[in-house]
Subunit: 215 residues, 2 copies
């Protein structure tokens, strides 16, 4: 059964960087490309980082129930398209959704089996530094920092917490979470027909009697 | 909080090999050295692979309640010494216990928070081949194979299942399970004082109010 992994963090923590490095290192998972009305940042491509559309188009898609969830964040719309998530589930491919903290909560409500990961900044100073390096103006950076202070406590509500003090370490930990999740009993039992070469082992695991286990 | 990881498999699946490779690749975890009355195999060292003691000494230690659990397997005693597990827990070091399937069940009863991993052989033919290469006589190999058939269904009762078709892959998956487990919310919140550089972030995660989360 394909899984949905949700990576969330306050603005500026580096969740997009972690996600794109991860996707280069692990197979069987596709990023859900969020739809947004915000302006592309330098280096961002339409259809890869986000789908960039107009506010009018976004509001039309809201009415058409195109989104699993959507929200207005810092004056821009962000939405998670239903069709991508459904397609991945159908194809047996895991999904990675990179989303703000409130979005993560909405997705977890819709998909309680989603595995949620909170990326923590190592310090508020570092978060501020990253916001300034992104060219946010002072008032904007201050607002984002205030929001971050309200979002960081939400780490407690996530399944996993990763601290982004070293990018490679954070990527490695996220990769481990996905790999471990694929080794969970239920996941292995479900895909057994694909992964296990021996029919005999397969039928023992599925239907054999477990020797001596008290139930 | 230090964790106890339990690696179990039918005889001949290669759990010792996987464990020793793992311990070379990951920090913060110590192997629990099992006490046994069986004869050392070529290359096995006392105090590293097992503590090799006499049957009389083993029975004395049973009376002294030296063992967390013990059992007779293929005519030899095997016991998990309490003191090593307790010392690791106290020192905040994770423990890796490599144990037969029934032993794993007993340990999980004593430590319900133990993370249990079942290592599956890729096929019964491969298992047989490995037993012969270990020099077991025909009757002995046949007995072990029959037991394996009764143990393999027990995979369903474990937290994680790893298929030992490729040693490096299996080691990587076990390492991922341990790494992911260390990123679990509860683990991170508990060790937060050690891992997080910023006092500010720490106090937000511990005591701040999570913004907008319905409870």
């Amino acid at each position: 059964m394909a899984k949905l992994f949700v990576l969330s963090a306050p603005s500026g923590t580096g969740k997009s960087t972690i996600a794109s490095k991860l996707l280069q290192q692990i197979e069987g998972i596709k990023k859900i490309v969020t739809v947004t009305t915000r302006t592309p940042r330098p280096g961002e491509s339409d259809g890869v980082d986000y789908f960039f559309i107009t506010k009018e188009e976004f509001e039309k898609r809201i009415k058409e129930e195109h989104f699993l969830e959507y929200a207005e964040v810092y004056g821009n719309y962000y939405g998670t398209p239903k069709d991508q998530v459904e397609r991945n589930l159908k194809e047996g491919v895991d999904s990675l959704l990179v989303i703000d903290v409130q979005g993560a909560f909405r997705v977890k409500e819709i998909f309680p089996s989603a595995v949620t990961v909170f990326l923590l900044p190592p310090s508020l100073e570092e978060l501020k530094r990253r916001m300034i390096s992104r060219g946010y103006r002072d008032s904007n950076a201050r607002l984002r920092l205030e929001t971050a202070k309200k979002e960081i406590p939400c780490a407690r509500e996530f399944d996993y917490i990763i601290i982004n003090d070293f990018v490679d370490k954070a990527v490695y930990q996220l990769k481990s979470i996905i790999t471990a999740s694929r080794c969970e009993r239920e996941s292995v039992l479900e895909v057994l027909k694909n992964v296990l070469p021996s029919e005999e082992i397969r039928s023992l695991v599925k239907g054999g009697e477990c020797y001596g286990k008290k139930t």
